[in-house]
């Protein structure tokens, strides 16, 4: 929030896009959900009638935000790749645990899986 500075009361598109990249890098899901709501509101306001000054101002903001949008796209792509890796990793780990459980291995290493009496 602090990075948006004085303009936060009425932030430019560029600042919103940059904030989205930062929030995604930090995996700040709540902030991203807030931003999604803000963007929904902005999209609704675009449908209303506005004078030419407002339209030109929005077009300028959109042009200036283009580079930040490209960065946001790349961060999103990197996150998708990381999510893929983490999902595969979790599948592997769970698979290992299931295998161990079925084989009745005694050296179970997850403390919460045993009840202290050896009953898995």
């Amino acid at each position: 929030m602090g990075e948006l500075g004085q303009g936060w009361a009425n932030p430019e598109l560029k600042a919103i896009v940059a904030e989205a990249s930062r929030a995604l890098a930090a995996l700040d899901a709540l902030r991203l959900e807030e931003l999604a709501l803000s963007c929904q509101a902005l999209n609704r306001s675009m449908a209303a009638d506005h004078d030419s000054d407002w339209r030109e101002e929005m077009a300028r903001q959109a042009r200036e935000a283009a580079a930040d949008m490209a960065v946001f796209g790349r961060v999103l792509e990197a996150t998708r790749a990381n999510l893929h890796v983490m999902n595969r990793l979790r599948e592997m780990r769970l698979g290992q645990l299931e295998y161990k459980a079925r084989s009745g291995a005694a050296d179970w290493t997850e403390p919460q899986a045993g009840n202290g009496n050896g009953n898995h």
């Binding site: 989205a20 929030a23 030419s52 996150t79 999510l83 050896g118």
Partner: protein, 473 residues
């Protein structure tokens, strides 16, 4: 009594096991702020059940040691992302230094590369001024002065680029020693870890090795292959062996065509290292690709302006009525013999302003038609199919796009590293619930970000569309 003894034994064993487990937890707490420490969890082994009155009863557990909560796949992914991030960070710093040379130096009258664009315009404008009075000595001196400024700006930029290249070369060469030191340490740790595993957990040694791997990943692009007994082989991303379990192979340097190249076992692996990532990849990409591209553009500019202007001046008649000869040509700039090196060597060789050939042959020394032809070069495609100003403008624009592209890459890569570090910290925690929560955060963030991206995309398209409608109206 047997039952009571068994119960007491069970309780005693449980207390012992708890004590051991507490030691593991205490170790975790004590190392909470230790860089590179991976949390350990106690291992429990069930005791053989005992039979009381024909019924089997559990005999509790024994604590058999601790296992580090590490995940090699995630750590490798993190190392790999750090390699690409380190490469783009290093390359970006080098590119920013290059771009500074071509950024207009506002508020300063000093001759910098940033003035090349206006220098080109001023130089050709000085011929336009000379058209009005080709015999005016002050106007002739102005031509030589603006030529000298332009040549000075271009050669200054080229020399600065050569200095930046030399500095990158030195930085790159310094990496080899650091790589050898780390691969030596990793080989030694491999031996120690292999002698420990699989009978017990080599957590502390693996933490040290992971820290070394992380540092190595910052320096150079590597691939990791886990071997028997938790050993590790490391190759460069192009496949040359750096560490094979307990043995490391020295990265050596040598000078090839004035630049430092890198060798493994006598093979020059410089190009593979440049593409591989890490700081070394960034240094080498900037040294061998980015700066040569910029220098080549400047060389083309210098070579073609010098050649075209010299040829046109040599075709005219100077204020003394003289024309150029093979032995004594009427040239303003030193005539380059090849494109390479033209920018750094660009200089004004004409010292007498009366030698500027403003007149055409047979028209008398007061004629201005060759000055007109010289001024017209500004609008002719004399530099690789473009006018000099357009060529320079496109070159600066391309450089800016490259910097912007690398900046975007770097931001995304650093974001990816931050995410993976967050996940790695979560995976080092002690239970699967924490791990699931971390995964859930990653998934929720990705979904929310996808929604934000879609909404912003729609918003920007609408905004641009509204702007166009306004312009048309």
């Amino acid at each position: 009594m047997g039952t009571i003894n068994s119960a007491m034994s069970m309780i005693g064993g449980a207390l012992d096991a708890d004590q051991e487990a507490l030691s593991v937890v205490a170790n975790n707490v004590a190392n909470a702020n230790t860089t590179g420490y991976t949390e350990e969890t106690p291992n429990w082994q069930e005791n053989a059940p005992i039979t009381i009155g024909g019924i089997q009863v559990g005999d509790g557990v024994t604590e058999t040691g601790a296992t580090s909560q590490r995940d090699r796949v995630l750590e490798e992914r993190l190392d790999q992302q750090q390699q690409t991030a380190a490469a783009s960070t290093t390359r970006l710093a080098a590119l920013n230094n290059v771009q500074t040379l071509f950024t207009p130096d506002s508020g300063s009258s000093s001759a910098t590369a940033g003035d090349i664009g206006s220098g080109i315009t001023s130089f050709f404008d000085s011929f336009s001024s000379l058209e009005s009075d080709p015999t005016d000595n002050a106007l002739r001196e102005q031509v030589l002065s603006s030529a000298s400024t332009l040549a000075g700006d271009i050669s200054s930029a080229a020399n600065s680029l050569n200095q930046q290249s030399a500095a990158l070369n030195q930085d790159a060469a310094g990496i080899a020693g650091q790589v050898n030191s780390l691969t030596g340490a990793i080989a030694q740790l491999n031996l120690e870890i292999e002698s420990t595993s699989p009978d017990s957990d080599a957590g502390t040694l693996e933490d040290q090795r992971q820290q070394d791997l992380s540092q190595l990943s910052q320096l150079v692009g590597i691939n990791q292959v886990t071997t028997e007994n938790n050993g590790l082989s490391i190759t460069t991303t192009s496949g040359q062996l750096l560490v094979s379990e307990g043995q490391n192979f020295q990265l050596t340097t040598g000078t090839v065509n004035g630049a430092t190249d890198f060798f493994l076992g006598g093979t020059d692996i410089t190009s593979g290292l440049a593409a591989g990532g890490g700081q070394l990849g960034g240094y080498l990409t900037a040294r061998d690709q980015d700066i040569p591209n910029v220098l080549n553009s400047l060389d083309e500019l210098a070579y073609n302006i010098s050649t075209a202007v010299n040829m046109q001046n040599n075709a005219g008649v100077d204020l003394n009525g003289a024309t150029g000869t093979v032995a004594d040509p009427l040239i303003i700039f030193n005539q380059p013999t090849q494109v390479a090196g033209s920018a750094a060597a660009m200089t004004v060789v004409m010292t007498d302003p009366s030698q500027i050939a403003a007149a055409s042959t047979g028209n008398g020394t007061g004629d201005n038609s060759n000055a007109v032809a010289l001024a017209a070069l500004a609008n002719q495609a004399i530099v690789v199919g473009q006018t000099p100003v357009n060529y320079y403008s496109n070159f600066v624009s391309t450089l800016g796009s490259t910097v912007s592209e690398v900046q975007a890459e770097n931001t995304a890569q650093n974001a990816s590293v931050t995410q993976l570090q967050t996940q790695n910290n979560a995976l080092s925690s002690v239970n699967l619930n924490d791990e699931a929560a971390a995964m859930s955060t990653l998934e929720t963030s990705y979904q929310a970000a996808s929604q934000v991206f879609t909404l912003l995309n729609t918003l920007m398209a609408s905004a641009l569309n509204l702007g166009e409608q306004t312009t048309v109206a």
